[in-house]
């Protein structure tokens, strides 16, 4: 038990002072293995190889490729503008577009930052022009962006599954209903808030007059992304293909969008691939570090010790989950989502599953908690993204705008905990899930 605590403390100190996370995890793991039995390094070598070539993880770079190609095609920004036309008249107006567009954009992007950045680049100038309250504009985009890792495809969920061996397809499908509920709750808050305080979303009418031509153009703008979202969901739910194969289909679809938008050239395609290599390489490097660390925990028997210690604690399983949830919430304020996933899941997973919690449910619950971390200072990636894209904004202003959404997300965690069926009902009704 002391060894486990030393290992955790070492990781935490190294990570907090700024050591690259892959090295902090991997080095701690390797030292621990060397101290236990140097011969076990061969086991670590197999762990490295198995993860570097894992077919489950192949889907992560492919989904990043799909999302980047779609952004380069311009289809995502046109999608946002197209959606805006239909949302202007309801209370909250274009603020709803931020949420709804992010909800659907989440289905073509596995990343929260990419989702928030796409929405922010179009929404902020337009909402500023219409006189929407800045705080609310920023908050709604930051919150909408968080749905990127809950609604499939989700890079965070792929990593969770890579670390735990849980089915990616089931986790993806499990995220759909909670994602839609969160989206609905965000929109309800915006609607109610706009009714109480109409100044946050002034109804100055639309700048663009809605004619048949404008309406049909906006539908054409919305259709490609909506279609891809439906294909991804239906493909997973009906078991047409594995998540990795669906990612490849998504990339093919993105190539068609590039061609339609006259952007199908080697420079763009290679640019996207290069982006994936730059982003994917450190990501996979972290996963390998995390797996070496998990292997070290396993060799020292720390995983089992922890699980036994926690399960024997004089607390009900829900009490233990509550403590872990608060811990994740606090850590999420300082550590970004992916890093937190690789740091905590190897420890939390055996404890929670040992207590009888469903691994698929746990994936959704942890993802919801990671989402709150994305919009809470001091380290909130979505807050940083919006600050970058909104000249003159301050981090405090964006964080204050996001605060009500943080509370809503936490309510979401409580709801999913009390009613786990919200996450588990849909996977239970999937047609034979295919593949890993």
């Amino acid at each position: 038990m002391i060894i486990s605590l030393i290992m955790f403390a070492t990781i935490l100190i190294l990570v907090m002072i700024g050591v690259p996370i892959a090295a902090a995890l991997g080095m701690t793991g390797i030292v621990a293995i060397l101290l236990f039995d140097p011969n076990l390094l061969k086991g670590a070598a197999f762990t490295v190889w198995a993860n570097a070539t894992s077919f489950i993880l192949v889907s992560a770079p492919l989904y990043i490729l799909m999302g980047d190609m779609i952004i380069r095609s311009g289809a995502s920004t046109r999608f946002y503008s197209g959606m805006g036309l239909w949302m202007r008249k309801i209370p909250g107006g274009l603020l709803h577009t931020n949420i709804l567009a992010c909800t659907i954009l989440s289905a073509i992007s596995g990343s929260s930052v990419a989702t928030a950045a796409t929405a922010a680049s179009v929404a902020i100038p337009e909402l500023d022009k219409l006189g929407y309250e800045k705080k609310m504009t920023y908050g709604s985009i930051a919150a909408g962006g968080t749905l990127g890792i809950l609604i499939p495809p989700s890079i965070s969920m792929i990593i969770y599954c890579g670390l735990t061996g849980t089915s990616v397809a089931e986790c993806f499908i499990a995220g759909v209903i909670p994602g839609l509920i969160m989206s609905f709750l965000f929109m309800t808050y915006i609607g109610v808030n706009s009714l109480i305080n109409p100044d946050i979303a002034p109804r100055r009418g639309s700048i663009v007059k809605i004619t048949l031509k404008v309406a049909s153009q906006s539908l054409l703008d919305v259709m490609p992304i909506l279609l891809l979202a439906v294909v991804v969901f239906a493909g997973l739910y009906l078991g047409w293909a594995t998540p990795t194969e669906l990612a490849a289909i998504g990339v093919f679809f993105a190539l068609i969008l590039l061609a339609i938008n006259h952007n199908f050239n080697w420079k763009t395609i290679f640019g996207s691939a290069s982006y994936v290599a730059r982003v994917g390489s450190p990501l996979l490097f972290i996963i390998i570090g995390a797996q070496i660390f998990s292997f070290a925990l396993y060799t020292w028997g720390a995983t089992q010790e922890l699980t036994v210690a926690v399960t024997n604690a004089p607390l009900p399983p829900l009490g233990i989950w509550a403590i872990l949830a608060v811990l994740l919430l606090v850590l999420g304020m300082f550590i970004d989502a992916i890093s937190m996933m690789v740091l905590t899941v190897p420890v939390i997973f055996p404890i929670m599953t040992g207590l009888g919690f469903d691994p698929v449910w746990l994936c959704v619950a942890v993802t919801l908690l990671l989402e709150t971390g994305l919009i809470t200072p001091p380290v909130g990636m979505n807050l940083f993204t919006i600050q970058m894209l909104a000249p003159g904004s301050t981090l405090g202003q964006i964080a204050r705008g996001s605060l009500p959404f943080v509370i809503i997300l936490f309510i979401g965690v409580i709801v999913v905990t009390v009613f786990p069926e919200i996450a588990l009902w849909l996977p239970a009704h999937m047609k034979t899930p295919v593949g890993p």
Binding site: G18, P20, A23, L41, A52, S111, A248, V279, S281
Partner: protein
């Protein structure tokens, strides 16, 4: 920086960029392999039988070969909430320590990957798919990529120790949060 060091710097930079390019091509090949598998399966109800293994090998290439450029551009993911608030001199010392920790990790990782590839070569291990690819070949990409990562780190440490002290004007690479993937 001496002339030799400057030459080494240029070579490492070019190899780093080449690593990124090969990794990028690996990503595209990964897509092509998986996509062909889907087409062949759906249209001809058969399989190319190598898609799972070979897409995995491509991912290993995508993982390992761009590691050098990540070191040069400081693209590794880290939590800099404390680091970013440190005074420049302390930050410099910490950055040096981080590079040394990464170097130790890189050496250990190269050693274990080399051991794996060597065992596969000695035991004539092949992949379980129809291609029966000798496993030491794809495993060598990890050794090459991580080995180059180590070389890049050694040179970065050298630059931090001897170049920053005023011997040359070669700038230190920009710090990047590596935040794009969250």
């Amino acid at each position: 920086m001496t002339k030799i060091a400057a030459t080494i710097d240029t070579i490492i930079e070019r190899l780093s960029v080449a690593g990124l390019w090969i990794g990028s091509i690996g990503v595209l090949i990964m897509f092509v392999i998986v996509f062909i598998e889907i087409v062949v399966r759906k249209l001809f109800e058969t399989s190319i039988y190598i898609s799972q293994d070979y897409s995995g090998y491509m991912m290993a290439i995508c993982l390992a070969l761009p590691l050098g450029i990540l070191v040069r551009r400081r693209g590794h993911i880290k939590v800099d909430v404390i680091f970013s608030r440190l005074p420049p001199k302390v930050k410099y010392c910490f950055d040096l320590i981080f590079l040394v920790i990464m170097l130790c990790y890189g050496i250990a990782l190269t050693y274990i990957c080399y051991g794996l590839a060597k065992d596969s070569y000695d035991l004539k291990a092949v992949s379980i798919d129809l291609s029966h690819t000798p496993l030491w070949i794809p495993q060598s990409t990890l050794v090459i990529g991580i080995g180059f990562f180590v070389i890049t780190l050694i040179f970065e440490i050298y630059k931090m120790l001897f170049v920053r002290s005023g011997n040359t004007a070669v700038p230190s690479p920009a710090i990047s949060a590596g935040a794009e993937n969250k």
